[in-house]
Symmetry: C2
Subunit: 187 residues, 2 copies
C-alpha cells in the first residue's frame, strides 16, 4: 500500500482518519453546494454567481461605479478575469464601461438599470436558498464554529507564503448574500 509513495514519510504526515473523513465530507458538500447555488441562481434569475458578485460590489458603492482594479481586489479575482467578465456582462447590458478622467489608464464599471433590477430580483431568492440549505440545518453553535473555522483557514491562506498569489492589498467584503442594504430591520 504505502510503498506506492516511497518518499511519503519524508514529506508527509498524512491525514488522521478523523481528518480524512471530515475532509471528504467537506469536499463533497462544498462541491454540491456550489453547484446547487449556481444552478439555482441562473435558473430563477438568469444571472450567474459571478455576475451576482460583481453586481453586489457595484450596488455596494454610493455612485454605483467601481474601478476595475478595485473590483479585482475586493473579489480576489485576477484582473483579466474581471476584464473578460465585465466584457460579457456589458454585452448583456448589465453594466457599462466608462473611462476615468483622473487617470488615463483606468476605467470604471458602472451599474445599468438592467443590472440593478437583475440583482434586486436575484438577491432574495438567493438568500432564501442559502438559509434553507445551510442555516436551517445548523444550530447556533455550529454556525459560530463554521465562522471560526472559515476565518482560521482563510487567515492561513492569506498570510505568509500563501499570500504571494495575488497582490493582496486589503480586500474586504468579497461577497454578500444581500446587497448591503440588508440592514433590514427584521433581519
Amino acid at each position: 500500500m504505502c510503498q506506492l509513495f516511497p518518499y511519503a514519510e519524508h514529506v508527509t504526515r498524512w491525514l488522521e482518519p478523523e481528518q480524512q473523513r471530515a475532509w471528504r465530507a467537506y469536499v463533497r458538500m462544498q462541491g454540491e453546494l456550489n453547484a446547487h447555488l449556481s444552478r439555482q441562481m441562473s435558473v430563477d434569475s438568469d444571472i450567474s454567481m459571478a455576475d451576482f458578485a460583481v453586481l453586489v460590489q457595484l450596488t455596494d458603492t454610493p455612485d454605483e461605479r467601481v474601478r476595475v482594479l478595485e473590483l479585482a481586489r475586493s473579489l480576489h479575482w485576477e484582473k483579466s478575469r474581471i476584464s473578460h467578465h465585465v466584457a460579457r456582462m456589458e454585452k448583456r447590458g448589465l453594466v457599462r464601461r466608462e473611462n476615468c478622467r483622473s487617470d488615463g489608464r483606468g476605467s470604471f464599471v458602472v451599474l445599468t438599470d438592467l443590472g440593478r433590477s437583475a440583482i434586486e430580483a436575484a438577491a432574495p431568492a438567493h438568500a432564501e436558498t442559502v438559509r434553507a440549505l445551510v442555516f436551517d440545518q445548523l444550530s447556533d453553535a455550529e454556525v459560530e464554529t463554521l465562522r471560526e473555522i472559515s476565518e482560521k483557514v482563510f487567515t492561513r491562506l492569506t498570510t505568509g507564503e500563501c499570500a504571494s498569489v495575488i497582490a493582496r492589498c486589503d480586500a474586504d467584503d468579497p461577497m454578500e448574500v444581500v446587497p448591503q442594504e440588508s440592514g433590514c430591520p427584521e433581519a
Copy 2:
C-alpha cells in the same frame, strides 16, 4: 432600504447577522481554498484537481478500469463532462479508452502507466497541503464539527426536492485526499 425588495417579506426570512457573517466567511474561505489547492496541484504535479479526481477513481478499482457512467456517478459529474475530460486526459496520455465487449455501447476508461505515476506523485503533496492549510489550524472538536456540518448540509442537498438535479443513484467516495491505499499504518 428594504423597499428595494417589495416582495421580500413574503418570500424571505433573510439571514440573521450572525449567519451573514458566517456565510461570508465561509464563501471567502472556500473560494480561496479551492483556488489555492488547484494552483498548488497544477504547479507541483502538472495535473488539475479534476484530473486527480478521475485518477483516484481509477486507482481505487482493482483492475484500474472504470466504465464512463460509473465515473460520472461516483464523481457526481455529468456524463458529457466526463467524456470531454477523459478526451483531454487521453490526449495527454494519462488514461486510455477501451471498448466494452459485453455491451457494445459502453466504453472503459483505463489507467496508463503515465497516469499512475502522475497520481502517485501528486497525492502526497496534496495531502500535505490540505493538512497544512486546514487541519493544522483546527482543534479536534472543530474537525468533528466541520464533518457534522458538512454531512448535514450534504444530506439536505441530496434528499427531497434538491436531489432532482442529477440522477443520484448512490454515489460514494467522490473524492479522496489519498487514493484508497491510504489505509496507511501510521496515518
